[in-house]
Every structure is written in C-alpha cells, then in structure tokens.
C-alpha cells in the first residue's frame, strides 16, 4: 500500500503527461522514455555460418506504455526481449532502461538492476515447484532482502488482486495453468518494477484463459502505471497493447499505435478497487471471474 502511494506521490497524473507528449516522435532521453533501444544487432554464429537474428533495431518505449512486439517464430522477437532484459548480450547496439545502459552491465550489476527495475512473466510460468503460491509471489522480495512479514503481507495482497486469495498455500502442481500464470503475474508485479516483460504469456493457455490472463496483466500494468512489453506471435494478444511493433526477420516492419481493449484508467481510481471493478465490467469477458476477484 505504502509502495503504491510512494510510486504515485512523486509524479501525480503521469498518464496525462504521457498522452500529451504522444504525438511527438522525437523524445529526449528522460522525457517520458523508459526504454531505449539503439542500433541493436545480434548475429549468431552456427557452425561457421552467421545468422542475423536482429538487424539494426531502434526503439523507444515510453513510461506507462503497453507495447506488443509481434512476430512469427524466428522473427527475432524473443532475442530482442532477451537482450532488452539483459539476459543476452547484443553483437552491437545499446539498450537503456531508466537511464542506465543495460548492455554495458556486468552479470553482478544486472542481477541488482533486474530485481529493482524489471518484472518477468514467462510462457511456462517458471514457478518454484516446491514453493506455495505465496512463497512464489514473494520470491523477488526475498532477493531484495525484504523481511518475511512485510513480503508476505505484500504477496497476499498481490494474490488477492489476481483472484487467488483462496490458493495461497497451494503449490504450482495443485493449480491450473491459468492459476499458475496468475501467480506468475503477481510475482512480476509485486516489487512494482518500472518495466515488465512478458514472453508469450498465454502461449500455454486456452483461449478463454488467455483473455482472462491478458486482461489481468494489462490491468495490473495500468494500475501501477508500469511499462509493459509483451512479446507474442499471437495477433489477438496485440489487441491489448497501446502500440504494436511488428518484427519480421529481425527488422521492424511496422510500428503502429493501437487502441487497447483495456482502456487507460484515470489515475485517481488506481487505488480504489471498488471503482476499478465497476470500470472493468465492460471489457471483462467473464463476469464471474470479476466477482471472484472482488472477493479476493
């Protein structure tokens, strides 16, 4: 709760600012831009043969933007995501997140940087099999050294938000795919990182659950005014984004703005679940799910 307040206090009403700046294409380094990709190139060498995974990619993503990187398999979208998240080193080029050059960091610095600035949602959830939902969600806070009491309180709140209040003590094996991914979402957002990456977040889910999960991810990002970068091959998923970047053979072929199916909410409602709830009803496919969440 305090964390949310803290986040909002320093810059009241950032979405307004953002939208005001939207039309401008050229943006200064700290002018609402949270992530910059400059001249990124990645070449893999496979048995003396060079495979260009990424050509020369340049990209700027603004704070609070929900950006979908859309591409078929082999388009280089996953490589781009990995490089942006600092999991892979580019052959050339720079990635700057929150004013810090990710591509120039050592492994050690990256670990600290990631836990403070980046959230991750995986296709295969990647939950710790032996840990309960609660422990899984609290894990990023463990790495930060947050005391148990505090992190469990925060994890409980997060789990409630993703509608898993009754499953806190369940292990991943006792939960459905959709539930597991919701735990994954709670985990990605618990430390409220400025940027959250989602790598095919619905790749292992059926269409019904996909809608559910995507709405949750986007709403969560909106709620905390976080920048969300979704990587997918699924055009349907792209509907949730504010911006769609299409990638073909390691190059950006189009970069268009999109009206998300989950519209931006007013910042005042961010911390009032009741109001959020009322606004949610329209885009929600399953109203029962919504009720569950209110309970949770």
């Amino acid at each position: 709760m305090t964390a949310v307040e803290e986040r909002l206090h320093p810059s009241p009403g950032p979405p307004g600012k953002d939208s005001a700046r939207r039309p401008k294409k050229a943006v200064a380094a700290d002018d609402g831009v949270i992530l910059q990709v400059r001249g990124l190139r990645k070449v893999y060498e496979v048995e003396d043969e060079k495979v260009v995974a990424l050509g020369k990619i340049s990209l700027q993503i603004k704070k609070g933007e929900i950006c979908c990187i859309l591409g078929t398999s082999g388009s280089g979208k996953s490589t781009l995501l990995n490089i942006m998240a600092g999991l892979e080193k580019p052959t050339r080029g720079h990635v700057i997140i929150a004013g810090r050059e990710v591509t120039a960091m050592s492994e050690k610095e990256l670990a600290v940087f990631r836990r403070q600035n980046i959230g991750f949602i995986f296709q295969s959830y990647n939950l710790m099999p032996q840990d309960t939902a609660l422990e899984n969600v609290a894990m990023p806070l463990v790495f930060k050294g947050v005391p148990k009491k505090e992190r469990e309180a925060r994890a409980k709140k997060m789990l409630a938000r993703v509608g898993l209040k009754g499953r806190m003590k369940h292990r991943p094996s006792q939960m459905s795919g959709g539930q597991q991914q919701r735990v994954g979402i709670a985990r990605a957002f618990i430390s409220q990182p400025p940027v959250v990456f989602a790598d095919e977040p619905t790749g292992n889910l059926d269409s019904h659950t996909t809608t559910e999960v995507m709405e949750m991810i986007v709403r969560m990002a909106r709620r905390y005014h976080e920048t969300l970068i979704i990587v997918t091959h699924d055009g349907d998923i792209a509907r949730y984004a504010d911006r769609i970047v299409r990638l073909v053979d390691g190059a950006i072929v189009s970069d268009t703005e999109n009206v998300s199916v989950v519209p931006r909410e007013e910042p005042e409602t961010v911390d009032q679940p009741a109001q959020t709830q009322s606004k949610r009803t329209k885009p929600l496919a399953d109203s029962k799910q919504g009720q569950n969440q209110t309970k949770g």
Binding site: A3, E6, Q116, F120, M139, P140, P194
Partner: protein, 480 residues
Amino acid sequence: MNDIKKARPAGKSPPARRNRNPGHSSPSKAHRPDKGMTRRDTILMCIKNLCRRKVRTILTVSGVIIGTCAITVMVSLGLGMQKTLEETLAQLGDLTIINIYNYGTSTEQPLNDEMLDTIRLQDGVVAVTPVYNTYASRWGNYTFSNGKYTYDGQIVGVDFDALRSMGYTFVEGDFPTGENGYEGVFVIGQDSLYSYTDKKGNYVQQTTKADGSPSDPPVNVMKDKLTLTINKSDQSNTKKQPSFKITCTGILTSDYQRNPSTYGVFMDIHYVKSLEKEYNKYNGVKVDKNKVEAYDNVVVKVQSMGDVQEVEDYIKSFGYNTNSMESVRKPIQDQANQQQMILGSLGAISLFVAALSITNTMVMSVYERTREIGVMKVLGCSLSDIRGVFLMEAGTIGFTGGVIGVGISYIVSFIINHYGGMGGDSGGMLGMASIGGSSIIPFWLALGAIAFATLVGLLSGFSPANRAVKISALSAIKQE
C-alpha cells in the same frame, strides 16, 4: 512510514543508500537499502532444499557421519596410545634429564664448572649438577661413624640447589637449606641405610622384625652424632686422622631410575673437593698440577621433553657423550606417530570419500535445479546469493554430518574404553596390542572434527556452487 522518514531534511544519509543501489530509477525505491537476501532467508532456502531431497541428503550426511566418525575415533585411539606411551616412558625415568658422560673423552673444552655455567645459560635448561663420584678411585677414603658402626661407601658431590629441582622425594627430612653453607651436611639414600659395618668389619644385615617389618638401620642418621674421618692410605702414616662433625638433613626415597641414584651419601660438591684436598694433604698425595680438572658425569635437567633434543645436541657439540630418555623415547614415539598417521589416514580416506559424495550430491542438485537457478537469476537474485545458498547447503551437510559423527564417536569411544581392550594388553588392533585399546576424545578433537567436516563440506560445495553461478539465466529458462 517510509515516506515520512524521507521527507525529513536530515534523514539517514539517503545519498549513501542511493549510491549503494545505482539501479534505483524511481525515488520511491530508494527508501530501502537493497543488500540482497538476508542470512535468514538463505538459511531457510538451504534447509528447504535439503529437505526436498530427504533421501539423498540423508545418504550424503551419512557419508560425512562415517567419515567424521572414522577420523575422530582413529585420532582418539592415537591419542590414547600416546597417553599410554607417555605413562610407560615416565615409569622408565625422568624424560627431561640429560646425562653427560666424559669418561676419557678427549676434548679441548674440559667439563668443568665454567662449562657447567655455559650449559646452565642454554634455553630450556632448568638445573645442572655435577655427579662427582668418589666411588671409582676414591672408595674408602672417608669413613662415617656414630662411634659404633661405620659407613665407608661412596660419597657423591652434587649441587644441592640443582638436585632440588630434579624431583627427588624424601622418606624423612629434606635437602639442606644452605642457610649456613653446605659444609658438613649431607643427605643419604634410602638404599644405603644398611651399608654399615661393625667394629669387626662385618656388614650389618637387614633382618626382619617379629611383626614382619624390616629391622631398624644400625645408625639413626637423623639423630645420632656423626663424624667423618679421613682414612690413611698407608698404615705407616702416624699422623692423627682428621675428622669433622657432620649432620644429615634427609633420607632420599629409594628410586633406581635416577642419576645420581639413591645409593650413597650426597654432599655439596665444593665440600667434597675440600675434603679431597684434606685427604691429599694428610696422605701426602701429590696432585699433577697440569692435569685439567673435569667432571666425569654431569646431570642436566631441562624444562620439558621438547627441550631435550635441542639441549642434548648443544651439549654434544662440545664433544661430550650424552644420554637421555630421548634416545629411548624417540624411536617409540616415531613408531607411535607412524601408527597415528596410519590411523588418521584411514579416517581421512573415508572423509575424502564423503567429500566426493557431497560434491556429487551438489552437482546433481545444481543440474536438477538449473531451471530454478535460471529463474532466480532472471528475478534478480544476486550471484553471491546463489553461491551462498549452494555453499550453505554443502556446509550444512558437512556440519550436520560432523556433529552427528562426533556424537557417535563418543559412543564408540566409550565402547572401546569399557568393552574393548579387555585384560589390559590383549586385543587391540594394528600393532597396538602392547599398548591396549584406549580412546580419548578431548574437546579440541570434537570441535576440530566438526569444523573439519564443515570445511570439507564447504570445499566440496565450492565447485558446484560456482557452476550454479555460471548457469546462464537465458538457457535455464528456455530449457524444457
């Protein structure tokens, strides 16, 4: 709450905190110093992981238990041997005594008072006394008498001050205090109490009293008035025999292990020398003035067994012959050390095998958890924390095995001491038959064994932990 703190102008030096966490992008995050995982969480995670694979953990810990137990019991047997050995050697005589023999040793440095002073200054030397024996050439030069019975046995010239520190015990009395000088005072060995002759020259035999106790000595040295008379070397000497009043201050308890032995009469070396002059004067013996005065036998007492070798070597460097228990002790000790080495090695081998099994367990664990480790890395777990978790797991295996192993060792030790080695010398193993089976586990051994087992665990876990650190976050999460 944290907001309030931050709002205060003189907060807890926020710049320092921010420096520590250069990754902070928003001011809201700067309120908590991010030091990575807490120790408590590391321990919890480690215990959780170990409990997850109970059987494997138990098997690995068992290996360490056996290893620790083997090493502890083996060393404890070695210590038991050492103790028995030292007790046996102590029965043979004082281990800190060095004898210097100078019979006919041609040396440019005579073994005289000056030389004794030199030796006295050597490190580790506690006391030095000449053993100036009248036995060989001066037998019968003097007679002790209470008027009725006479003693004409050996007189040994010694340094009473030195003798005092050599561990002699008394049946009665003590060494002379030296307050009034050492002239005319002596102590007598218990073994010489019956070496008297009557006026006819017959030995007074020790008989048994009616109650079975030995008969009283013919002369009560402590009470009777005694005189020392210088004998004639030639019956034609008509001069009056010089005689001196002498007093006995104590009777030494019989102890044949000692040199000078408790046979004979002990007097101050300078007094004995002056008596000798009297004798020469009385009997007109001409002393060769060119003859260098030198002692035949000198006894040196050193501080501890460890000093013996060095002091002995030092004395030998002057060309004297020496003798000490060291020459007896050393080969026995060497053999004992060798046995201890063999015993220790047996234990070490089993602990080494245990170490391999720890490494194996940890490598397997890292391999199985590749994905988890990758996820941890992606979620921002520090490399040092990942290493910490794995090292702690390995260390915990070592420590737990060590503690249980030492506990079992105490039980084994108890069994060996109470049921093994029955009948004293019989039984035993590996040539310890003569020493018997006794096992000693001092506190330092127990503590050392636990520390060693923990160290072995940590060392074994080192390479697997580094392997875990090197796992690429990317390949870990891709794998499926």
